[in-house]
Symmetry: none
Subunit: 267 residues, 2 copies
DNA sequence: CCGACCTGTGAAAATGGTGTGAACGCAGGC
DNA sequence: GCCTGCGTTCACACCATTTTCACAGGTCGG
C-alpha cells in the first residue's frame, strides 16, 4: 500500500553546487537527506537509517575502494550509488562487482541521480518483501505487520484489515496528532469525501477492542476539531500528564485550541 | 559463492555486433542467454525463467514505453536493464521511474553491461539456493521438494505441480500471513490480475487433499481481507476451546450483553 | 445558557470477500 | 483424433466487513 514511503538518502560529496541543487529537489520530493563531506563509518550510517547513499569517492581519497568495499559488505540493506567525474570502464566494472548498485558520471542531472537512487531503493525493498516491517510496541500493545494483527498480553485483538491498517498508522505516528483527512488518505488510499464519518467509526471499534484486551491503558486521544493522537498512557495518569505537557503543548495552529485543553482538564 | 550463481539473461536487441560479443563473454562467465529481436510477451519471459533482460527499446518501436511498463509491472522479480544509443535525461528519468532498474548508453563496453546486469540481479538472490533442499515437516505433513510431493503418514497427497509449489511456499512461511498478491507473485511468477481467484481455488484443492490424508489437522487458515496462513493445528483443540468457552460464555462485562447471551443459550 | 457544530454510538443497509461446484480450454499421451 | 489431467474462469451462495444514517452527548463561541 504505502510503498511510496519517503526515501532517506545520505550524500557524501563536497561539490556544493551539485549537492545544494540535489538537496533542494530531494526535499521538494519529500525525501530526507543527511549530508557529509568525508567517509562516514558504517555504524553511523546504520544509525541514520538510510535507504541509500550517494557517494563521490573522490572526497574519500586513497581509501575509497576499501571504504566502498566495507560499506557494501557490512550494510547489505543499504543502496550504494557512486557519482563521480571521470571514471574508466574498468573502475566502474570493479565498483559494480564490489557490490555498488549504480555508478553515475558527473556532470549529471539531479533528477537522474534521484531517479537512480529511487530505482536502487525500489529494487532493494522488493527483494525482501518477506522481512516486512519490524513489530511495533507501545504500552501493552504489540503491532505485528507480518500477522496483520495487534496483540496485548499475547492475545490477539482480532482486528479486521482496515482496523489494523488504522492502528498501524496511528502507532507508527505515536505522539502526533493526525487529521482525519490525513488518516483517511493514508489508510483508505484516496481523498476523504466531505462529511465521511468512517474514521470516527473505526476509531470507536479500535477503542472497543483495545479496551477489551488492555483495559488499563488509554491509547487513542481525541483532539477536538482536528483529529486523533496515539499515545499509550496508563489509566489514571492522564490528568497529570496533560497538565505537565501543557507548557510545551501549543502545537496546534488551529483556532484557540490550547485554551480548551486547559479548561477541559481543569474542570 | 552466492555471487557465482549462473545468471539467466534475456537480450532483446538487433545490434548483432554488440550482442555477439556480449554473448561470447557471458557464456564464458557461465551465464545462460536467451536472445530475441523484438518484443517478447510477458508469459514467454516467465517461461524462460530469466533473472534479467537487457533491452534496446529501439527494436521495439513505438510501443516501447508501453511494453516496458507492462514488463516492469507484471514481472516485479525480473531485472530490467535498458541499453540504447542516444537518450535524453527526461527519457532516462521516465524509464527509471517506470520501474526500469538501470539505463545504459551505447556504445558501451560489454563488461560494464554485464556488471550492471549483475548488480541488478545481485540482491534478491541471496540465500535462495539453500532453501530448496531440505524436506519440511509440519504436523503430520512432510513436504519433500526433491519429489515435488507432500506426504502424510507415508502416503502421497498426489499434488500437482502448482499445488505443490503453493503448499511449499505456505509451509516455508509457517505462521506468517501471506497476502494473495504475494502468493501469486511467488508461485505463478508474475503479478496477479485484479479479481483473479486462482489462489482461492488452489487453496481449496489443497485443503481437500490435506483433509483426505490428514483429517485431524487444520493446516491452512484464512485471514479475511488479507490472505492465508499456514499453521498446523490438531483439529481437536478447536472443538474443545469452543465447547469450553460456551458454558462460561460471559466473557466480558460490557453493557448488558451477558443477559442476551445467557437468555439465548438458555433457550 | 443557547445555538451551532463536532464527536460517540448503535444498528440497518450496502458492499465486497470467500467457499464451492462446475464448465471451459489447453496440452500431452494413447 | 480422442481421452485425460491440469489450470483457469465463471456463477452463485453465504457471510464478514464496511459504510451509512439517525440520534445522543459534548464542546465551543457568543
Amino acid at each position: 500500500m504505502n510503498s511510496q514511503q519517503t526515501i532517506r538518502l545520505g550524500v557524501i560529496d563536497t561539490d556544493s553546487g551539485f549537492v545544494t541543487v540535489l538537496a533542494k529537489r530531494a526535499e521538494a520530493a519529500g525525501w530526507q537527506l543527511r549530508q557529509a563531506t568525508g567517509a562516514v563509518p558504517a555504524p553511523e550510517l546504520v544509525a541514520m537509517k538510510l535507504n541509500a547513499v550517494l557517494i563521490d569517492p573522490a572526497v574519500i581519497g586513497d581509501e575509497a575502494w576499501e571504504y566502498l568495499d566495507r560499506i557494501c559488505g557490512e550494510l547489505p540493506d543499504l543502496g550504494v550509488v557512486v557519482c563521480t567525474s571521470r571514471s574508466t570502464v574498468a573502475q566502474r566494472v570493479r565498483g559494480l562487482r564490489l557490490g555498488i548498485d549504480d555508478w553515475i558520471t558527473k556532470p549529471c542531472h539531479p533528477e537522474e541521480a534521484m531517479a537512480r537512487v529511487e530505482a536502487v531503493t525500489r529494487r532493494r525493498r522488493r527483494g525482501r518483501s518477506e522481512a516486512e516491517a519490524g513489530p511495533l510496541t507501545a504500552g501493552e500493545l504489540e503491532v505485528r505487520p507480518d500477522q496483520f494483527q495487534a496483540f496485548a498480553a499475547g492475545e490477539s485483538l482480532d482486528l479486521t484489515r482496515r482496523e489494523f491498517e488504522l492502528l498501524h498508522l496511528l502507532a507508527d505516528s505515536e505522539g502526533q496528532v493526525l487529521e482525519r483527512e490525513t488518516i483517511y488518505q493514508r489508510v483508505w488510499g484516496y481523498a476523504m469525501a466531505h462529511g465521511d464519518r468512517s474514521v470516527d467509526v473505526f476509531i470507536r471499534k479500535l477503542r472497543q477492542k483495545l479496551e477489551k484486551r488492555s483495559p488499563s491503558w488509554a491509547y487513542i486521544h481525541t483532539h477536538f476539531g482536528v483529529g486523533y493522537r496515539f499515545d499509550p498512557e496508563p489509566a489514571g495518569i492522564v490528568k497529570e500528564e496533560i497538565r505537565a505537557a501543557d507548557p510545551n503543548a501549543p502545537e496546534f495552529t488551529d483556532r484557540s485550541q490550547q485554551l480548551h485543553d486547559e479548561v477541559t482538564v481543569g474542570s
